[in-house]
Symmetry: C2
Subunit: 744 residues, 2 copies
């Protein structure tokens, strides 16, 4: 029997009815009196100096109420702004929102128009005359690193680590981590495998495009309704870009149709704000799908060289990784996690990792679910598979032999606390899937492991007790994957009441304490911790009320399972709630945490595939995702995260990629041509939740959402190898590419 | 120099820009997808049995989406529901919302229709066939008390004091208060004056009519956007009438265009909820002005007999009052305060008060600014004036001689703590107005005193510190008269920051702790107290953060005037706020209070009038309002309350009245015919704020909003007497009535 009453159950999600009936309010649903519509003019060139922008004809078009260019943005110094999930260079952020002097990628925003309807706004865009000086384009990460490559940023800038480079180059950041004596260690190895890998740029593929509404009030207060992963992060960016105090900006987080890391950075919000300031009207801006692809951030493509050495008995002795990720037009920030995660599943006393964040004429890259880890794991985990084959060791056993555990030090420094990789590998070994036979031609089974560190960071919450015994919970974490439920359940558990009796509510930035982004797999962990602390705060006050009733000391009131007791008296939470009006009024609880991450999520995935020898098409026959969730608060949503991450990873593995022509034009900027998997492309994904409690959380929660996307490309490549004998080292392993490889 | 930095200053109101630019969202502004419009069918008879309602033809009209009658309301037991400002009988509340079996006044809601637009809804109303059995009507309070009068409620019900009567009658409540030996005391008097008074029903005259939008969600959650004085009171009523838990109902308080007591009871909200439940659509309902007059509550008309005895030297020795207030169609609740306030300005060791709440075929009465006190003060204060004249004593001196003070016991029981009547009378005596000469024919100067007890009750608040040093303040008190400012200022004062650095926000019932209605002059006092406590809570946490920075004990950090200090270290609130992200994350404060009222507001008013002998028209030449505010947080809003209350009282005194015909039809149900004073009818009202600190509030605040309406009818009657020699004892003192009296 579970030690919990609420945690581990599967109540109906609080926002379920609203979502399925269409009542949930997304930014696009917003109607305001006097609303006008904004549109963005985007650069047709992937690299060009902007000599002149003439907006006069557009301004004269009847129905146009405002036109904006980078000239309307205040000068941004080269300073770093903390957006909750890492710092960004403010000048770059502003320049990505509206190009200043240079267009750095095709689709880069150059100007904007607001008009009485979207059609007039589009007509007006055509009247804006931009004089470009077209520059040579660099698209490939290795090309961009060459000294003779066209430079995106002629100025030296402060990188995301706060450092200034020596001279301008397209290498925005170079990271280096090293432990032990790597060269000596490789000499001890009986087998050394070194391989090169390439992965394409892929998009997060959220369903809802970027949409926002901004209203710049007469008293200079700005309200922004937007689809964002972090209302406070959006507030910070808007306030920094526009150089107005955060208290002047209210961000109302509307429902969000997916983000996966792609809805942390702002794009439209500051532009809509300027158009609203200039027109005095609320401005709505909506991207179409092509704008989403061309104007917002994919996650990096990469070139990687990874080398592993092992002894005959399967002990890994040395590792080396050289990772170059394309940053897009501005420093990207995904290389750091790539370096952290490349060898993170294994004990490696001697290892070296070099990481390069490389500028290219592509949209600025953005996080995508475990950003940077999937690429690195693709490299490492396929080499592990090759090693297992070469050494004649079962791939699970090889991983178990070298698995990171409590006390293992990672190449980038941290020493793991209690983690669950061994337990997850063992669960895989004992799984029906692994134990079952896979028969038939052109079929193969692959396995791989994956890691994402998960963050903690800052969350606030508050709660109010209703006199019917229910509790409203105020939180600042935008709910993308069911976190209203998983946070409310933790409060319910703490108070000993039913899940249904907690009514969660995601509110705007004026109505809750500072809360970091919904990202980094932090929400159920950190905002959940805040909810737990709110519960303790409420409980303390409820004890005081019971003490008033019984004329005893509050500290003498015992509370367990939602029942308050003292000296023969006993009252339930619900009954006590009914007496609040007569014992001092409302009971309000609050908490703010800066939660200690990482929570270290490990996963293992198993894939059975069949490869069509005539076309190279890969069919997934069976797929199992195993993961250490610490403690699954709402198992359905944990399973949903595991399934969703795996499917996104399968898409990344098999089909997804940005296809650019020589001038940097994306040739497949629509969901017809950018091939994400649909429900017809994958089987039902099986899930096995492993629970190795996180000691840093009262209910043992670890982050869940990101780990499952780390493993699929490696898992699929390993399965494809077993089916075809071909080792694929480039993503996507699309039919033409795989077919070609199979022909060799 | 003031002891305060923020309190007593006059910052710009936080909602000012929104109000003057039309951006503020009132319920009528609300647009929701699929919105339909509801309309109410009202009884054309003031008293009738409802034999049958046939809605079938209306239901068939194209465009109609739902029809509702009382049959759609759950059976309401005869139980009392606590609405924050007094209990109400639930069956009566429900029956007032949709008539059940009987229509009790002309305009009583009988059925409702929702349709795709208001015009179709109106057409549909015409298709509803109601079979009435018309009953005899009783409109006058004395007539209604006669045994042979038509009975409104044949059943005996529980009155608002929780008592059941012996037998059915139109007397809903009889109250009796007595102290000392009244009959003996009267024998000691040298002068005894006994007079009879009549006052008409008057309306609160808010600008915005009743409007609401209700959305009954598929998951049975109900959201109501409405113009209300109390979001939690509205939630309680809706939940009680519909018999669903309060946690199933969210009330979003939109901006409110005046209430004055008339927007505490619900009318449209439960009906809109039912129409939404039946149609699956959000339903908007808006009253027109005639519906407001005929379908919502005026404040009671009255018949009063008051007797006072005094010795030659001006000592009041005995008082007796017999007050009968018309309740309208259901028990009213205003008679209690009437009894409390009739002699409340004076020390009277021997006094007796009888109060009757009397049913009549008029809309159910509702509170109107100091409900019940104005009528009673009209009676008492004109007799005091007559006594002063008879005894040859200055009317201020007579009042000073008998003025209530700390320790005075009121006839209904309470003993006053520190109060400011004497100080206010002395301020009147020393005022330029009182000391100036009034010359010319047909002119006269009147003076009167008034009292309202003011309530305390329950308020909650929360606050979040932004990293720019500003604070957002979450409150549940709907802002009618500038309370966002007056509450925010108290938090700013507590924290030692600028008024502009607190950003107040009135939120819905899910987002703040239980907060009683905006009424009873309680908000600046009680919600202000909550804001002060929130400030202390924030300050404690800020000290902890400073202690972290300086590695000292939190209790060793001193804080004064927004500066935190320890051992040579010093940091301002703003600087410390900037460090929150690195010292543990958000700082969130919260408080809930059940504030100890009453706060006892006393006022004195002086009027100079000129009466046109040919028409009886009264022109106000000069008018001064003096009042003990305890401490004026934002003096402009205190002055505004004093001016607004006085002007409403002048309207009540001179012109306002419900004019009914014999069948109970209101003949002046529009603002063209119901003569409220406009800016052309009154001079600029002078104000003198007296500040005798309330010991029960850290800044000394007393309630302010209601006291100023108590005095005008008596003040005006006394002034008219001095101008004409005619003692007016019936309201309104309209030109025809005054002219007639002047002819005698």
């Amino acid at each position: 029997m579970s030690q919990y009453k609420v945690i581990g159950t599967r109540p109906i999600r609080p926002d379920g009815a609203d979502k399925v009936t269409g009542r949930a309010i997304y930014s696009a649903d917003l109607q305001l009196n006097g609303l006008v519509h904004g549109k963005i003019l985007r650069s047709p060139h992937a690299h060009a100096n902007i000599k002149k922008i003439d907006t006069s004809a557009a301004e004269k078009l009847p129905g146009v109420v405002a036109v904006a260019t980078a000239a309307d943005l205040p000068d941004s110094q080269d300073k770093m702004a903390d957006l909750g999930e890492g710092a960004v260079n403010l000048a770059h952020l502003a320049c990505n929102v509206l190009a200043h002097k240079k267009a750095l990628y095709r689709g880069h925003a150059v100007a904007a128009v607001a008009a009485i309807n979207p059609h007039v706004a589009e007509e007006a865009l055509k009247l804006i005359k931009v004089e470009y000086e077209v520059l040579p384009v660099v698209m490939d990460v290795l090309e961009a690193m060459k000294p003779e490559a066209p430079l995106l940023h002629p100025d030296v800038f402060t990188d995301s680590m706060g450092k200034k480079a020596d001279k301008p180059s397209n290498v925005a950041v170079h990271l280096h981590f090293e432990v032990g004596d790597v060269d000596a260690a490789f000499k001890k190895a009986d087998v050394v495998i070194e391989r090169e890998f390439k992965t394409a740029s892929v998009h997060q593929g959220y369903i809802e495009p970027h949409v926002c509404v901004a209203l710049w009030n007469e008293d200079r207060r700005l309200t922004v309704w937007t689809s964002t992963q972090g209302s406070f992060a959006a507030r910070a960016q808007v306030s920094e870009i526009l150089q107005i105090p955060v208290s002047q900006v209210t961000v109302v987080p509307c429902e969000i149709g997916g983000g996966f890391g792609g809805k942390i950075s702002v794009y439209l919000e500051p532009v809509a704000a300027i158009l609203s300031r200039k027109s005095g009207r609320p401005v709505k801006m909506t991207m179409n799908r092509t704008e989403v692809f061309e104007g917002t951030g994919p996650t990096p493509g990469s070139f990687m060289r990874v080398k592993l050495g092992a002894t005959k008995d399967g002990k890994l002795v040395a590792g080396e990784a050289w990772l170059a990720y394309d940053a897009g037009a501005f420093p990207g920030g995904m290389i750091g996690p790539g370096c952290m995660c490349v060898f993170s599943c294994y004990e490696l006393a001697d290892a070296r990792v070099d990481g390069y964040d490389v500028l290219a004429n592509k949209p600025k890259t953005q996080p995508y679910r475990a950003p940077g880890a999937t690429q690195a794991a693709f490299a490492c985990e396929t080499i592990i598979d090759e090693l297992a084959e070469k050494l004649g060791i079962d791939p699970i056993d090889l991983r178990l032999k070298n698995a990171a555990k409590e006390g293992t030090r990672r190449v980038d420094g941290p020493v793991y606390p209690k983690i669950g990789l061994v337990e997850t590998l063992e669960a895989a070994k004992n799984s029906d899937h692994w134990k079952s036979k896979l028969e038939g031609p052109n079929r193969g089974r692959g396995i791989a492991a994956g890691f994402w560190f998960n963050i903690g960071l800052k969350s606030a919450a508050a709660a109010n007790v209703n006199n019917d015994g229910t509790v409203t919970l105020i939180e600042g974490s935008t709910d993308i994957g069911g976190s209203r439920a998983s946070i409310a359940m933790q409060l319910a558990e703490t108070l000993g009441i039913a899940a249904e009796d907690v009514k969660p509510r995601v509110v705007d930035t004026d109505s809750v304490g500072y809360t970091d982004v919904t990202g980094g797999s932090r929400v159920t962990f950190a905002t959940g911790l805040a909810a737990y602390r709110v519960g303790l705060d409420l409980q303390k006050q409820m004890c005081e009320r019971a003490a008033l009733l019984w004329e005893c000391k509050p500290e003498d009131v015992e509370c367990a399972d939602g029942v308050y007791k003292n000296n023969g008296h006993s009252i339930t939470f619900k009954e006590l709630a009914g007496k609040l009006h007569h014992t001092g009024g409302a009971v309000v609880g609050r908490a703010a945490v800066d939660a200690a991450g990482p929570t270290n999520g490990f996963g293992v995935q198993i894939a059975d595939v069949e490869v069509d020898p005539d076309t190279g098409k890969v069919t997934v026959l069976r797929y199992t995702v195993l993961q250490d969730a610490g403690k699954a608060i709402h198992p359905s949503y944990v399973e949903g995260q595991m399934q969703g991450g795996a499917v996104q990873g399968i898409g990344w593995a098999l089909n997804e990629e940005y296809i650019f022509d020589r001038e940097g034009r994306m040739e497949n900027a629509s969901y017809l041509d950018y091939r994400m998997p649909t429900s017809l492309d994958v089987p039902m994904i099986d899930t096995i939740i492993v629970e190795v409690a996180n000691p840093a959380h009262p209910y043992g929660v670890r982050g869940v959402g990101e780990t499952p996307i780390v493993t699929p490309p490696a898992t699929m490549a390993n399965a494809i190898y077993r089916a075809t004998g071909v080792r694929m080292r480039e993503l996507p392993m699309s039919p033409p590419r795989l077919w070609k490889a199979m022909q060799k």
